[in-house]
Symmetry: C2
């Protein structure tokens, strides 16, 4: 049984025999897979009342270790979103009482976004479910396949600066 991308590639070979569309075997699949996986992950976030943006913020703060705080700039760099998106994500977390927005010492321009107690409890529970979910999604693979896939993706990420 061929997957969708195999079908697509066969169509292109028929229609554009002048092009070598083999890269699609990697890139189109990666793209579709990422979409599909995101759907799966988001469902677990939603079970905890979290959207992707909020989960991203809380998890990023949580993994820094105590006192679970970063500046908006650092948050944006780690999560690959614009400064405007950071502001809005933090606003939403703030409205729920999951984080606080304080003034950073010394530099009046800087802010300090920190997890509150309730935010930490929430992300600790949500993250455990999230990881269980990821284990489920990877259950297709043997340990060797997982390592191989991880290595290839890591190599690619390093090269492209991701």
């Amino acid at each position: 049984m061929a997957d969708h991308v195999s079908t697509v590639m066969a169509q292109w070979e028929q229609e554009r025999p002048d092009l070598d569309v083999t890269p699609q075997a990697v890139i189109a699949r990666l793209h579709r897979l990422a979409l599909r996986l995101t759907d799966e992950l988001v469902q677990v976030y939603a079970q905890h009342g979290l959207g992707e943006g909020e989960f991203d913020v809380l998890a990023t703060l949580r993994r820094q270790g105590a006192p679970y705080a970063l500046t908006p700039k650092e948050l944006g760099e780690q999560t690959m979103v614009s400064s405007g998106a950071v502001t809005k994500r933090v606003d939403r977390c703030l409205a729920q009482g999951w984080v606080s927005r304080g003034r950073r010492d010394e530099d009046g321009r800087g802010r300090r976004i920190a997890l509150t107690e309730s935010g930490r409890e929430l992300i600790d529970a949500a993250f455990a479910d999230h990881i269980a979910n990821e284990h489920r999604l990877l259950a297709v693979f043997t340990a060797t396949e997982r390592r191989s896939l991880a290595r290839l993706l890591e190599k690619w990420a390093e090269q492209t600066g991701a």
Copy 2:
């Protein structure tokens, strides 16, 4: 040199030693990589005056072969977006004269979205550039690595129904 995800995983191991976060080596990397690659691909679409949605519509129609037509439902299934998104994407292509929206024979509910001559010319040029871009992005890998990555992603896609 460790990539970002390696750092993140080390943080989690420190903070949540109770959890096995190894799936992140695959899932988080895939996620970030997809984001980064999308950025790269979108730049080429933009060189032809296309957004991702428009490129998606035109390319999907083009690869069907003559007469380059599908229903909105089929378009949505192949491109993994909602019916509302299909309507809007087609509206945009329509405004540029790249597709036509006709009535499907027999069934008055159905529509028939078809490439126009100018749409076909546009996507033929854009797609050639797109494939060249994909070749460039995959240049990091040896042929063996590419096949290996493609096989692993295909296996995953088949299992999850992507």
